[in-house]
Amino acid sequence: MYAATVGASRYLFPDLKALLAKATPARSGDALAGLGAASGEERVAAQFALADLPLTTFLNETVVPYEKDEVTRLIVDRHDRDAFAAIAHLTVGGLRDFLLSDQATTPVLTELAGGLTPEMAAAVTKISRLQDLMVIAAKCTVVTSFRNTIGLPGRLSVRLQPNHPTDDPRGIAASILDGLLLGAGDAVIGINPATDSPERTYALLSMLDDIRGKLDIPTQTCVLAHVTTTLDLIKRGAPVDLVFQSIAGTEAANRSFGINLGLLAEAREAALSLKRGTIGTDVMYFETGQGSALSANAHHGVDQQTLEARAYAVARAFSPLLVNSVVGFIGPEYLFDGKQITRAGLEDHCCGKLLGLPMGVDVCYTNHAEADQDDADALLALLTAANVNFVMGVPGADDVMLGYQSTSFHDALAMRDLLGRKAAPEFETWLARHGLFDDKHRIRPRELPADFRALLPPAAA
């Protein structure tokens, strides 16, 4: 039982998950689940109580039972007690003060990551302002590699997302061409396939590998099929760089995705066995998003942001190259408007970074949410300032297959210019070799580099 007194009112919170839920800044998904605070005062009362909570509480009380949930078991069994020792004496409020302090330098935060549980990270972000979320995250550096190096300071990488409504290879190649010219693709060239057909996935993997090989692009490719599809295709000899999977923060939610930890481990081993990375062995690409567990009716009465942080515990067990919170994709019943999407995007980025993950964010919104391009612009700028590892690059910000708005090649380019971020170093060298920079080292394509013509369909070449 936890409690806080505000004036004459005494607020009681029966357990840790209730306290976390009531302390969460307002969002529609928690209201939908019946978990959010009933009033503004109750919310802040919960935040006071949460701020006073010793961090050791999180080691003694789980939000989803250990016996019932393999994600809880992963969190508890893998907790790094030695790393935790540095903060064991702190409360949640004390942790916030520490993270913002000048003592909490990049190496200190790197050391700390294994000592933090997802629930601790979620708790500290609940009592933080957006500015705090940015300042803390900006101090965390998480570097990963496969064929290039992602997440170095001063860099902003871009996933080139060339989706096509029918997976037409020529249409996809046209979008890839556009993205490469505008400096996108250093995080990954990754297609969301329109169907889960293994044959199409195989064909798309072969096509991407062919393009990457022809242009000698120092990046990795991915078809975002279900992990079981990718695993079968690895066995059949398909050129798989990265294994993709959507993940969530409870065993039951993961089951609704048709996955479990064992399957992810098997898939990672299979991808590693191909030895396709030239400079690194980070072979996993995960996507997450607040609300997915509730959507699968698998939330165990836990608020959506805490569950999102638990998904990061799943991710970090598999040394991913990329983790992407697709923050506004799920819709207004979970994140109602631009304000809620903005907050969630910065929370996810900060929690993921604190837990040691190579976080990217798909800054996005659907057409049934109360959001528009102005909201996306604001969040993208805030995340870039907070040193996000990567963002999406979709032609004209309009994903014609998934039916939502993400960020465009131009958006990423504008952020690189505005805030002085560069592409991954190996990719930057490649861009320069193809003459895509102007005399001020800005990406300004003037004409199609000769070898890019290899991407053109026969009629246009």
Partner: protein, 273 residues
């Protein structure tokens, strides 16, 4: 002074204007957009705003049930109109749980229909506006014309068509349960995109029950003339149904292998003679 004037930026890609107009025939994606500096030029910026405004309007459009009934008539199946527990568009958007279940009255309508203990039907088709009334208004009937006659010819027992206003995918589970249908196909309006405010999804579930999750469903999304066309959608649906009935499962264990095989008419009856 005139040489100092700013020249609008479509010139950025002037050498390749022809190239991009050719490439744009291959995809609806917004490729090769005119640029000024790192940013979008004014014309594509306003094009985007217009498309977003139209998509927002599509979300709030209303399904014309009587027009849909007329379009479905040639299929020769009876049709029922039901309502989800979401009373209006706002509660539909904010309360997915309400969109997943029928009103008490609608449930009663179905219970009255179902008789006996054994499965009454092999399949039930459910149509719902979901997030785009325009999608099912335009594409449900033509897709069914490519599907229903093939199944009927193969002897499948097809339940009355069900139209549900403000439904989510899972409301089909309840409908299949009440009608005692082995399999449910939900045709539903997907969230409108900028280039496609009218995309329809088809979700197939074998013997849905309380424990059914999304992993138990197979889906064909983006059904519309410029996406997965009616003919191809019908082919895929029939192929999947054939596999589902033969293997008595649906979901992630069952892959869409219609690119591999042609339909085997003999197998349409679940492999039985």
């Amino acid at each position: 002074m005139s040489q100092d004037k700013f020249v609008a930026s479509p010139t950025t890609r002037t050498p390749d204007v022809d190239l991009w107009s050719q490439l744009r025939r291959l995809t609806a994606a917004r490729i090769g957009l005119p640029r000024t500096g790192a940013s979008l030029a004014t014309a594509p910026l306003l094009d985007f705003r217009l498309a977003h405004a139209q998509a927002r309007d599509a979300v709030h459009a209303v399904l014309d049930v009587s027009a849909l009934m007329v379009a479905l008539q040639p299929l020769g199946l009876p049709a029922l109109t039901l309502a989800s527990a979401a009373a209006d568009k706002h509660s539909f958007l904010m309360r997915p749980d309400l969109g997943r279940r029928l009103t008490v009255e609608s449930r009663g309508t179905l219970t009255a229909r179902a008789t006996g203990n054994a499965a009454c039907y092999d399949i039930v088709f459910v149509i719902s506006d979901g997030l785009s009334a325009r999608a099912v208004q335009s594409h449900a009937a033509p897709t069914l014309r490519e599907t229903v006659p093939v199944l009927a010819a193969a002897g499948w027992r097809i339940a009355p068509l069900v139209i549900v206003r403000h439904g989510r995918v899972a409301i089909g589970d309840q409908i299949a349960g009440e009608l005692r249908a082995d399999c449910v196909i939900m045709l539903i309006g997907e969230r409108p995109g900028l280039s496609a405010p009218d995309s329809m999804g088809a979700y197939i579930t074998w013997r849905p029950d309380e424990g059914t999750s999304d992993a138990d469903r197979n889906c064909i999304s983006n059904i519309r003339p410029d996406g997965i066309g009616y003919n191809e959608a019908g082919f895929k649906l029939v192929h999947m149904l054939q596999a589902i009935k033969a293997r008595r499962i649906s979901g992630v264990q069952l892959k869409d292998e219609s690119d591999l095989k042609a339909i085997d008419p003999a197998a349409l009856n679940g492999g039985q003679p």
